[in-house]
C-alpha cells in the first residue's frame, strides 16, 4: 500500500472536526504570506516613525550636550549612539525585508536530481523567513531605542566636564585653580576651596590648563 514514491499509507476516516480544522489550516496557509506582509508593514511604519524621530532627536540634541560632559563619558555616549545607529539600521533592514521580501526570482528549473519546488512551498518558506525577519526587526529596533535612551541619558546625567583652570606663576610660588572672577588686573582663583585674589600685574606667567598639576608639596 505505497504510492509512487512510498511513504504514504491510508489513514482512518477523519471526523468532521478534523476536516474543519484541516480546512481552516489550508485557508490560513493560502493567506499567510499576505498576513505576514501586512503585519510587517504595520510594524515597519510604526517603528520606523519612532526610530526616525528618536535618531533625529538624539543627533541634534546630543551633539551640544556631549561637548559639555567629561570626556570619557562623551566616549561612552558616542559608542552607545554608534551602536544604536548600527542596530537601528540593521533592524530597519530586517523590517523592510519582512514587509517587502527579498528581491530574488524563484527557482523554476529543477536542480539535477531534485524536484521543482512548487510555488506554494516557495511562498510558505518566504512566509516563515519573513516572520523570522519581522521578529528580528522588532527586537533590533527595540534594542536600538534602548541604546538611544542610554546615550541620551549619559549626555544628561554624566558628570560635567571639569571647568578650565588657571596656572599662575608669581616669583617662586605657583597658584593653580578655577578662576571665579576677574576685575582690574586681578583675578580671583579658587584653589582647593579657598579663594585668593591674585594681582596679574605681578604675575610672571598665566597659563590656562585643562587640569591642575598634582598639588605641590606642602609649605610655601
Amino acid at each position: 500500500m505505497t504510492g509512487p514514491t512510498g511513504g504514504l499509507r491510508a489513514g482512518p476516516a477523519p471526523t468532521p472536526a478534523q476536516l474543519r480544522h484541516a480546512r481552516s489550516v489550508r485557508r490560513a496557509l493560502a493567506t499567510e504570506l499576505g498576513r505576514v506582509r501586512e503585519a510587517a508593514l504595520a510594524w515597519r511604519n510604526g517603528l520606523g516613525a519612532v526610530l526616525a524621530g528618536l535618531i533625529g532627536f538624539s543627533l541634534i540634541k546630543g551633539r551640544n550636550d556631549v561637548g559639555q560632559i567629561a570626556s570619557n563619558w562623551a566616549v561612552v555616549a558616542g559608542l552607545l549612539l554608534l551602536g544604536a545607529l548600527v542596530v537601528g539600521a540593521w533592524g530597519v533592514l530586517a523590517l523592510l525585508r519582512a514587509a517587502h521580501g527579498r528581491p530574488s526570482a524563484a527557482r523554476v528549473v529543477a536542480s539535477p536530481g531534485g524536484a521543482v519546488r512548487p510555488f506554494s512551498v516557495e511562498d510558505h518558506d518566504e512566509t516563515l523567513a519573513s516572520a523570522r525577519s519581522l521578529r528580528i526587526g522588532i527586537t533590533l529596533t527595540c534594542l536600538c531605542t534602548a541604546l538611544l535612551a542610554a546615550a541620551v541619558g549619559v549626555t544628561w546625567y554624566a558628570p560635567p566636564k571639569d571647568p578650565p583652570q588657571l596656572l599662575i606663576r608669581q616669583g617662586g610660588t605657583t597658584l593653580c585653580g578655577t578662576p571665579t572672577s576677574a576685575a582690574r588686573g586681578t583675578v580671583v582663583l579658587k584653589v582647593n576651596g579657598v579663594t585668593s585674589t591674585v594681582d596679574l600685574a605681578r604675575a610672571d606667567s598665566v597659563t590656562p590648563v585643562a587640569s591642575c598639576p598634582a598639588p605641590a608639596p606642602a609649605g610655601p
Binding site: 505505497t2 514514491t5 512510498g6 511513504g7 504514504l8 491510508a10 476516516a13 477523519p14 480544522h21 518558506d125
Partner: protein, 114 residues
Amino acid sequence: MTTPPIPQGPVPLPYLRVTEPSYAQRAAATFLREDFAGAVVLSGPCPRCGHPMEFPVVERIFRTPTPGASAPASASPPVVVFCTVEDVEYPGAPEGEAGCGAYWSLVLAAEAGT
C-alpha cells in the same frame, strides 16, 4: 471491498462532503509525495472526482488558528486531506470552496521510501 471506477466526464460530480475508506486507500496508492524543507507536497488525482490536485502539508504556518496545526512530516498522526481541485465548478458547492467535497486521511511514514 469494491472501489467504484473514477467517474469522469463533461458533467462534473455534484459537490458532496463525503469520505469513504476507499478514498484513503486509492490516494495512498496513487498520490506522489514530495518532501521539501518544512513542507511535504502531496499530489495526484482526487479519488472521488479524478481531477488532479495538490495538497501541501506544512509543519507550521504563520499565526496558526489553533495550536498544533498540521502534522509534521516525521510524526505519525494522519494528515487530513481533502479535494482541492480549483478549475472545476461542482454543482452545489458552497460559495468560495474549491474541490468536490471528498476528504480522507493519509499517514506519512517517517521517511519516504524509494
